[in-house]
């Protein structure tokens, strides 16, 4: 059974407002909510925001501060 996705917190430790769907999708794609801009009321993160974030990440992986992918020996 899927459990409720725990609430993320921002840099100041406050609970990040995000819709339940946004949280689940973020979890699925290993996205940290703190990196997503919320477009809903009071900056609430909604599904669209996470999806846009994921698309951007996929389109321009170099722009995200992720570690360089290590090349596996063939």
């Amino acid at each position: 059974m899927p459990e409720p996705v725990p609430a993320g917190t921002d840099a100041e430790g406050r609970r990040i407002k995000a819709s339940p769907l946004a949280r689940r999708i973020a979890q699925e794609h290993d996205v940290e909510l703190a990196q997503v801009d919320g477009s809903g009321p009071e900056g609430r993160i909604v599904r669209r925001d996470v999806e846009t974030h994921v698309e951007k990440q996929e389109a321009a992986p170099e722009s995200t501060p992720e570690p360089e992918p290590t090349t596996e020996p063939e």
Binding site: M1, P2, P4, S19, P20, L21, E28
Partner: protein, 475 residues
């Protein structure tokens, strides 16, 4: 060169729920606003649609309840019967109260009400000429006004089948069916959509012999299949004749009683009746409003608009029934408010068609939002479906209305609430929780976590969700 100033910031053509609510929001946003109306304020919805029909249905419901008072422990010494003209009069009273309300709102919000038939002569110009309203009174005077933004909210009117022309007496539209003060002994209703089944319920409880004929293979074909099945069961039990997969070919109007020709299962039947109600959808009012003059695009009889209700012509917008299905009052006003807020530069979110609820106010009531089970599967979702019968709900037992069920459809992967389908007592009110939850991007978990007061019918939504998640309680 400075642009020539227009008379108004915004001119709205049509004062239905789309038009009048948009006008109010426009003035709140600081716009000088005028509304053009050729008939009564409030449009179809208030005058010959939503409100008066719900008033009729209430009389029918009370009639239905008084037919088995002993089930409530009450004793009827004598009899109860509908006084048909009074029932109609009560309905008109509700319509008039609402209509007065809109008049008051227009005044309160400083909206200029321009009576008459409006027609675009240029993208920023509406020519108005006197018209005749539904009471046969001539209203308005000839004039021309300009507006920076013109919003067309001219609505729709009953559709007519070529072989079933509406004459308003023998073959009626919904309008005559709600206005006439003489009651037919028998009535054939063509079309088992929302309007058809609502009038079926109403006339049945007024004592008319009702037959409903639907060309598709089930009643309320826009709803989930299980809902159709349940409704058909209820109607048949009630004593309403229901024919599905039946094709009306025409009506012999010279015969007395009328003879309706129906093709069903390969053979032809003739059904006798006093009157026929044609309830086969609506068509947009796109004629004679100057669309061709200014070059506004239409498709299949609907004005074509983008996500923010802009037509292809700059400065000209369209909202509500005239933009096509679903033909619903709340869709009209939602679109209008969205349109005008976008014009005012607000950051608005386009409407998701799956967030539009649809309601049918017969008994048992029907309400739904989002995908049917079939649609969800066709859209490629892995779904988990949960249903819960009103029979197992405490309040339904207390009320003595135990027919029907709730069906909830969730996406297996993220738990998105893909659709909800309710048939049963008070369904039309229960759906609002689901719509709000969808708008807030709920999953099933929050619906289960949300404390539904006991005993309420709303618990069925939670219980159906629990079933979808494999954790049913009261079933």
């Amino acid at each position: 060169l400075a642009p020539m100033a227009t008379d108004y910031d915004c001119v709205i053509v049509g004062s239905g729920p789309g038009g009048y609510e948009t006008a109010i929001r426009a003035t709140q946003l600081g716009m000088e606003t005028a509304i053009v109306e050729k008939d009564k304020l409030g449009g179809v919805c208030l005058n010959v649609g939503c409100i008066p029909t719900k008033a009729l249905l209430k009389s029918a419901e009370v009639m239905a309840e008084t037919s088995h008072l002993d089930d409530f422990g009450l004793e009827l010494d004598g009899s109860v019967s509908p006084d048909f003209p009074s029932v109609i009069e009560r309905s008109r009273g509700a319509a008039n109260q609402m209509n007065q309300g809109v008049r008051f709102l227009m005044q309160k919000n400083d909206i200029d009400v321009l009576r008459g038939h409006g027609r675009l002569t240029a993208p920023d110009t509406v020519e108005i000429e006197p018209s005749v309203n539904m009471d046969g009174e001539e209203v308005g005077e000839a004039r021309t006004v300009t507006g920076e933004h013109i919003i067309l909210a001219t609505g729709a009117r009953p559709n007519e089948l070529p072989f079933l022309p509406i004459d308003g007496e023998k073959v009626m539209s919904s309008k005559e069916a709600m206005l006439q003060t003489e009651q037919p002994d028998s009535l054939v209703i063509v079309g088992a959509g929302a309007i058809g089944v609502e009038f079926g319920y109403f006339y049945h409880h007024m004592g008319t012999d009702v037959t409903i004929i639907e060309v598709q293979d089930r009643m309320v074909p826009a709803e989930d299949k299980d809902v159709s099945k349940e409704l058909e069961k209820a109607y048949t039990k009630m004593g309403i004749e229901v024919m599905t997969g039946a094709n009306v070919k025409g009506v012999d109007k010279d015969a007395e009683p009328l003879r309706v020709e129906v093709e069903t299962g390969g053979s032809t039947e003739h059904i006798e009746c006093d009157q026929v109600l044609s309830a086969v959808g609506v068509v947009g009012n796109v004629e004679d409003i100057g669309l061709e003059t200014v070059g506004v695009e239409t498709e299949g009889g609907d004005i074509v608009v983008d996500d923010y209700y802009r037509t292809n012509v700059d400065g000209v917008y369209a909202i509500g029934d005239v933009t096509g299905a679903p033909w619903l009052a709340h869709k009209a006003s939602h679109e209008g408010i969205l349109c005008i807020e976008k014009i005012a530069g607000h950051d608005v979110r386009p409407m998701d068609p799956n967030d539009i609820p649809a309601c049918t106010y017969c008994q048992p009531q029907i309400a739904s939002v989002g995908h049917t089970e079939e649609e969800a599967r066709e859209a490629g979702y892995d779904v988990k479906v949960g249903t819960f019968p009103f029979k197992a709900n405490g309040k339904a037992a207390a009320l003595g209305h135990q027919e029907g069920f709730v069906k909830t459809i969730y996406d297996e992967k993220y738990g998105e609430l893909l659709g909800c389908h309710i048939i049963g007592e008070d369904a039309t009110e229960l759906i609002s929780e689901v719509v709000a939850a969808r708008t807030l991007e709920t999953t099933g978990l929050e619906i289960m976590e949300s404390m539904h007061p006991h005993p309420t019918l709303s618990e069925t939504v939670m219980e159906a969700t629990r079933e979808a998640y494999g954790q049913p309680i009261n079933i």
